[in-house]
Symmetry: C2
Subunit: 196 residues, 2 copies
């Protein structure tokens, strides 16, 4: 194992990767989706709680179920993306803890506090969705995450009768770099960080 990634790898993951708005026709395969989940699931979560759930929407029928929930600015790029991931979480994630964290009764930490359960699900599912974005890039896919949609409509269309809740959406495919916007600025180390 190398103990550090080289510049090409860092470019692929972080420095040259972009949020894509246009897509080539090249499809994304089942094997690619299984691969990126297999990578993302290895990332750390609190007490291994692993609350994230992912719906990989590819079929036209699934895209049509998404359509009414999309904001106008996210509509075209989402309808044309090879895959749109509903990055979600299971609000009852703690029911898996006897398997995921067998050292103690971690389930009771969350069944005794709905606030802690919701906060833990949201934080860790967001972390895991971040791992999925970087896993997709690591496997040569481009990602376009989005928060601009109606969560209630997505939950009604996809998760009625379940404990799953949508968090945000991620388009996946091979991006068309000619449709990229200019890169936006980021905060400097001095603006965002403190050495203490």
């Amino acid at each position: 194992m190398p103990n550090i990634l080289d510049d090409d790898a860092l470019d692929l993951l972080f420095r040259e990767a972009r949020t894509h708005n246009g897509w080539t026709d090249r499809p994304v395969t089942d094997v690619e989706l299984e691969d990126i989940y297999a990578l993302a699931r290895m990332g750390p979560t609190s007490a291994n709680c692993s609350p994230a759930r992912f719906v990989f929407v590819r079929a036209q029928e699934g895209k049509e179920k998404l359509r009414p929930a999309l904001s106008s600015g996210n509509l075209d790029k989402t309808m044309t993306a090879p895959v749109t991931v509903i990055a979600a979480y299971d609000a009852a994630f703690y029911d898996k803890l006897p398997v995921l964290f067998p050292h103690g009764d971690a389930r009771s930490w969350f069944t005794s506090s709905a606030t802690l359960a919701e906060e833990t699900a949201f934080r860790n599912a967001s972390l895991q969705a971040g791992y999925l974005i970087l896993a997709a890039r690591a496997r040569g896919l481009d990602a376009g995450p989005m928060s601009g949609f109606d969560k209630t409509k997505v939950d009604e269309a996809f998760f009625t009768g379940t404990t799953w809740k949508s968090n945000f959406l991620i388009n996946l495919g091979h991006g068309d770099r000619s449709k990229l916007f200019d890169r936006l600025p980021r905060l400097s180390f001095e603006e965002a960080c403190i050495l203490a």
Copy 2:
């Protein structure tokens, strides 16, 4: 740029990386911390809102300010870690939007809804902390993220008089693999994912 990472790189980031509980004496330099922030900040956030803030606690004085907030299970590993990052967010992150997202009046989306502002800060700061964990691994550091601490105490000790709020903690350094626990299971694709 390669269009895919090799197995060694995927092992480093995801498959062989572990949450560490013990640390070697090898320090973490300012340049390493600046490098991993420079990578993590390039990851995507909603409307480029970039709410995450990071306090890199290395000095004994800073560690002592953390000590009363730590749960017993997280105490020793945190006091001995070369760096403990307070992964935080700026609740008034929207004040940077005129620079970070100059296309429109994005600031007003959040000043008009405290609920949307809080949800956006929490989601995106968690995503960015996930990018920081993977950036640390990419640069050859080990990470140990933790939620088991008293956020109110950390916020009082570090963020009084500011709009920053703690989210979770991340120990950074070079892990002592002899102190690792056994790897815990993860959910299968069938348990956590749907192809739609």
